[in-house]
C-alpha cells in the first residue's frame, strides 16, 4: 500500500509529479505496453487523429472518475456519478434551451445543481448515516427519474445556444498549435485533474479526505467536524459531475436524459485500475487518469483491430485484471 500523496512535503509541483510518476511507473508502463502493442498490431492506431479520439473518449469518463476518486479516498463510494452527470446536463438544457437564458447562467447553474445534489447526498451519508452505497444507489435512481421527468423524457438540444458545443468540441490548443487539435474537453479533464490533485495534496480538505477514509473515528476524536467535511467532499464530487455533464452535453450538443446509468462502473473501474483502494485512505489522481486512459485505449485498440465485439468484451475484462495484477506485482517487488 502506498500513500505517497499524503506525505508530500513542500516540494515543487514538478518534483511532486515526478515522484508520483515514479511510484506509478508500472501502471503507466502498462499503458505504454498497450500503446506499443496496438501500434505494432495496426498502423491505423498510432495516428494523431486516433490519439486525439482516445483522449476525447476519456474526457467524460475521466472527469467522472475524478469525482469517484475523491469519494473513494474518503472511504465512500459513489454510484450516482453517472446519473448526476445526466441530471446536470438536463439542468443545463432547461436553463439554456427551455428558458433561453445565456451560457454564463446555464453553465454555472448546471455546476451548482451538481454541487447542491452532491451536498444532499453528503447530508444523507454524514447526517443520517445512510451507508454510502445505499445513499448513492438511491440517489442514482432519483437523479435518473428526475432527469426524465424534467426533460419530458426527450433529448434537449442546444441549437439555440451557439458556442455551447465549443466547450467540449472546440480546440484552444489547436488554435495556437494547428497541428495538435486537442479538443477543449480533454483540456478540461486535465485542468480538473490537476486542480483536484492540488486540493488532495495541498489543502486541509484533501488531508481530511484521506483521514476520513483511513480512520474516521480518530479524525472525529481529534476534534474535527467530520460531518461537515464529508459534505464538502460529496459536494465537490457533485460539482465535478456537473463538469462532466456540461462536457457530455456539449460534446453531443444535447442533454440525453436516458443515459448515465452504467457510467459509474466505468468510472469506478478507472479509479481502481489507477491503484486507489476501495478501502479508502489512499489514492492519486494521476493513477485515476491512467486508469481511465487504459480503459479507453483498450476499447479503441480492439476496435481498430476489428476484434469481434463479443471478444472485445472478453479481452477488456482480461486486460483490466492483468493491468491491476501487474501493478500489484510492482508494489510487492
Amino acid at each position: 500500500m502506498s500513500t505517497e500523496t499524503v506525505d508530500s512535503g513542500k516540494r515543487s509541483v514538478g518534483e511532486l509529479i515526478s515522484s508520483v510518476a515514479q511510484q506509478k511507473l508500472l501502471a503507466f508502463a502498462g499503458l505504454i505496453v498497450l500503446l506499443v502493442g496496438f501500434s505494432l498490431a495496426s498502423p491505423n492506431f498510432m495516428q494523431t487523429a486516433n490519439m486525439i479520439a482516445i483522449l476525447q473518449a476519456t474526457s467524460v469518463n475521466g472527469v467522472l472518475a475524478i469525482a469517484a476518486t475523491l469519494v473513494i479516498i474518503a472511504g465512500g463510494i459513489d454510484l450516482s456519478v453517472g446519473t448526476l452527470m445526466t441530471f446536470c446536463s438536463v439542468i443545463a438544457g432547461v436553463i439554456l434551451t427551455y428558458w433561453g437564458l445565456p451560457m454564463y447562467i446555464g453553465v454555472p447553474g448546471a455546476l451548482l445543481a451538481g454541487v447542491a445534489s452532491g451536498a444532499f447526498t453528503g447530508l444523507l451519508i454524514a447526517r443520517f448515516r445512510i451507508p454510502p452505497f445505499i445513499a448513492t444507489l438511491g440517489m442514482m435512481l432519483v437523479f435518473k427519474g428526475l432527469s426524465l421527468a424534467i426533460s419530458g423524457a426527450r433529448p434537449i438540444y442546444f441549437n439555440d445556444t451557439p458556442g455551447f458545443d465549443l466547450i467540449s468540441r472546440g480546440s484552444l490548443i489547436g488554435y495556437f498549435v494547428p497541428s495538435l487539435p486537442i479538443p477543449n474537453g480533454v483540456l478540461i479533464l486535465f485542468v480538473v485533474a490537476i486542480a483536484t490533485s492540488y486540493i488532495l495534496t495541498r489543502t486541509v480538505l484533501g488531508r481530511f479526505t484521506f483521514a476520513l477514509g483511513s480512520n474516521e473515528e480518530a479524525l472525529r476524536l481529534s476534534g474535527v467536524d467530520i460531518n461537515r467535511w464529508k459534505m464538502y467532499v460529496y459536494s465537490l464530487a457533485g460539482g465535478i459531475c456537473g463538469v462532466a455533464g456540461i462536457l457530455l452535453a456539449s460534446r453531443i450538443n444535447s442533454a440525453q436524459p436516458a443515459i448515465g446509468q452504467g457510467y459509474e462502473l466505468d468510472a469506478i473501474a478507472a479509479v481502481v485500475i489507477g491503484g486507489t483502494s476501495l478501502k479508502g485512505g489512499q489514492g492519486t489522481m494521476l493513477g485515476t487518469i491512467i486508469g481511465a486512459l487504459i480503459i479507453s485505449v483498450v476499447a479503441n485498440g480492439l476496435r481498430i483491430l476489428s476484434v469481434p465485439q463479443e471478444w472485445q468484451i472478453v479481452v477488456t475484462g482480461t486486460i483490466i485484471i492483468v493491468a491491476v495484477y501487474l501493478d500489484i506485482l510492482r508494489r510487492r517487488g
Partner: protein, 509 residues
C-alpha cells in the same frame, strides 16, 4: 539440557529501517525469559521472525537444536510456538469462543460445528485463568482490556511449548496481571518456555528467570533476573542511569478551576460523578478495569452522549455535543485505544501529529503550510524521541510504543488548557516514560489542567497531585497526592455500592 529455541545472527531489514542486526536469543524449557528494550529496539520484530510472521534476512533459528524455517504462522504453530501479538489481532464480529478456537473448532461430521463444545472449551480456559468471561460475547463489544484477555486465552489454548507474550499486560490491571502470572507459573512448571516482553519493570522481578536486553536491533546481553538489579537492566536498555523521582505537589490554593464536572451520569457506566481540576494541577484517575474512567473522559470530551450532568470550563457552564466542541473549548483527549481512536495508521507521522491542529497550518483557501507542519512535527519527534526515519514515515511502520508517542505529540501540539490522558504510557519504555512524566509535570507547571487515567498505580502515584478513584461508575473518593499509598487506592477502587450490587460484577480483585 539443550535450548528449546535458539536464534543467532538474526537480521531483518525494512525499507529505510534496519530493525534487527545480529540479534541473539535463547530460550530454555521451563523458564520465563524476559525480552527488554526501548521502543523500537526490535523486540516485536524478533518475535515475529520466530513465529513465522516475518521471514528473516539472515541468521538461524533452531528449535530443539534443529534448524528450522517457518514459511508462515501455521508452520510455527505446528512446531509448538504460540504468540500473543502486541497489536490485538482479533475478529471483532466473532464471539470470544469463536476467536479463541478459530481454525480449530470442535467439529461434528461433514464440517458442521459443535458450538456447545466450543463454548465449553472456552469457558474451561477462562476458569483455569480464574477470570470471568462470557464465551458468547461478541469481541467487538469488549473493552481493550477484555480483548487483551481473549488474546491471552487464545494463546494458552494452543498448548504451545514455546509461548511468546508481546506486552500482554499493557492493558490489564493488577488483579488480572496477578492471574496471568499464576497461569505463567503453572505453564512454566509444565516445562513450557515463555518469552515475556513488557515495559513494566516491576514485573521482571516477579516472574522472569533470565532477561535479554536489546538495543537498536542488537542483543546487548542476557543476564540472570535474580542477580541483576532493575537499574542495571535499565542502564543496559537505555545506555544510561535513570534516577527515581517523586511527585512534588505545587500550592494550588489560589489557582482557578479549569474544569468542573457535576453530577455526570449515564446508565450504569457513569453514576453521579463530580470533580474539578485546577489550572496547574495533575489529577490522577485510578480504578479497576471497567470502573468507568474512560467512559467519564469520553463523556466530557463529547465522544459519547451523556444523560445528565453539568460541565463547566473556566467557570462557565458549557454544552459539549461533540469532540469538536470540546477541542474548541480547549479540551484534549488522548484515547486509550490508539489503533482505533488515536492514530491514522495510513498517514505519516507529520500528518498525525498535526491532525488536531490543522487550522493552525492552513492559510487562505485551506492550503496547508507543509513546511511549518514539518518543523513542528520534527520538534516533537525530537522532544519525545520518536524513533522514525523521518516525519514522512507512515505511522503503521512505527513500533507500538512510538505510535503511542505520536498520539501524545498530537495533543501536545494542540496546546489545550485541559488535557485528558487515558493510559498515556501504554507500551512506552521506561526511559521514555520518565521523559513523559517530566513533560506532563512541565505542562501543569505552565498552568494547564491535566487528567491522567492510568491502570498502573505507580504511575498514578508518581504523577498525581490528587488522585480520584472510581469503582463501578461511581467516584468513590479523592485522595491527596504524595502521601496516598497503593493500599488506599485499592480500598476505594473496590468499594462497591453499599446496597449490595457487588454480585453484578465478577470479583476480580
Amino acid at each position: 539440557m539443550s535450548a528449546l529455541v535458539s536464534m543467532t545472527g538474526i537480521g531483518k531489514q525494512f525499507p529505510g529501517v534496519r530493525a534487527l542486526h545480529d540479534a541473539r536469543f535463547e530460550l530454555l524449557a521451563g523458564e520465563v525469559h524476559a525480552l527488554m528494550g526501548e521502543n523500537g529496539a526490535g523486540k516485536s520484530t524478533l518475535m515475529k521472525v520466530l513465529s513465522g510472521v516475518y521471514q528473516r534476512d539472515e541468521g538461524t533459528v533452531s528449535v530443539d537444536g534443529v534448524a528450522v524455517v517457518f514459511d508462515g504462522p501455521r508452520a510455527a504453530q505446528d512446531a509448538g510456538i504460540g504468540i500473543i501479538h502486541q497489536e490485538l489481532s482479533l475478529m471483532n464480529d466473532l464471539t470470544v469462543a469463536q476467536n479463541i478456537f478459530i481454525g480449530r473448532e470442535p467439529r461434528l461430521r461433514f464440517g458442521r460445528l459443535d458450538d456447545v463444545a466450543l463454548n465449553r472449551n472456552a469457558s474451561a480456559i477462562f476458569e483455569s485463568m480464574n477470570i470471568g468471561m462470557d464465551p458468547t460475547a461478541v469481541v467487538g463489544s469488549l473493552t481493550i482490556a477484555r480483548q487483551q484477555i481473549v488474546e491471552v486465552a487464545k494463546a494458552l489454548s494452543y498448548n504451545s511449548r514455546v509461548l511468546v507474550m508481546d506486552e500482554p499486560t499493557a492493558a490489564l490491571n493488577d488483579a488480572e496481571i496477578a492471574e496471568l502470572f499464576r497461569v505463567i507459573e503453572r505453564l512454566k512448571n509444565e516445562g513450557v518456555g515463555i518469552i515475556y516482553i513488557s515495559h513494566k519493570m516491576d514485573e521482571l522481578k516477579r516472574i522472569a528467570d533470565r532477561v535479554t536486553v536489546m538495543r537498536d536491533g542488537e542483543t546487548v546481553g542476557t543476564v540472570d533476573a535474580a542477580g541483576t538489579s532493575v537499574s542495571d537492566i535499565i542502564s543496559m536498555m537505555v545506555g544510561r542511569e535513570l534516577q527515581e523521582e517523586r511527585v512534588e505537589i505545587p500550592d494550588l490554593a489560589s489557582a482557578p478551576v479549569a474544569l468542573e464536572v457535576n453530577g455526570l451520569s449515564r446508565g450504569r457506566a457513569i453514576q453521579d460523578v463530580s470533580f474539578s481540576v485546577k489550572r496547574g494541577e495533575i489529577l490522577g484517575f485510578a480504578g479497576l478495569m471497567g470502573a468507568g474512567r474512560t467512559e467519564v473522559a469520553r463523556a466530557i470530551f463529547g465522544a459519547d452522549p451523556l444523560e445528565s450532568g453539568r460541565i463547566a470550563v473556566d467557570g462557565k457552564t458549557v454544552d459539549i455535543k461533540s469532540p469538536r466542541d470540546a477541542v474548541a473549548l480547549g479540551i484534549g483527549y488522548l484515547s486509550e485505544d490508539r489503533k482505533h481512536f488515536g492514530i491514522d495508521t495510513e498517514m505519516t507521522v507529520r500528518a498525525n501529529v498535526a491532525m488536531a491542529t490543522m487550522s493552525a497550518f492552513s492559510g487562505a483557501m485551506g492550503v496547508m503550510n507543509e513546511a511549518a507542519m514539518s518543523e513542528r512535527a520534527k520538534h516533537f519527534i525530537e522532544r519525545l524521541d520518536i524513533r522514525t526515519p523521518g516525519d514522512t514515515q507512515p505511522v503503521r511502520l512505527l513500533s507500538g510504543g512510538n505510535q503511542q508517542k505520536v498520539v501524545i505529540a498530537k495533543w501536545l501540539m494542540r496546546d489545550c488548557n485541559v488535557l485528558i490522558f487515558d493510559e498515556p504510557t501504554r507500551g512506552i519504555d521506561v526511559g521514555a516514560k520518565s521523559e513523559i512524566y517530566k513533560l506532563l509535570t512541565e505542562l501543569a507547571a505552565q498552568g494547564r489542567a491535566i487528567i491522567v487515567i492510568s491502570s498502573e498505580l505507580p504511575e498514578v502515584l508518581r504523577l498525581s497531585h490528587r488522585i480520584a478513584v472510581m469503582c463501578e461508575g461511581r467516584l468513590t473518593g479523592v485522595l491527596p497526592g504524595g502521601m496516598a499509598t497503593q493500599e488506599d487506592i485499592m480500598a476505594l477502587a473496590t468499594q462497591r455500592d453499599s446496597d449490595g450490587t457487588a454480585f453484578h460484577g465478577q470479583e476480580t480483585a
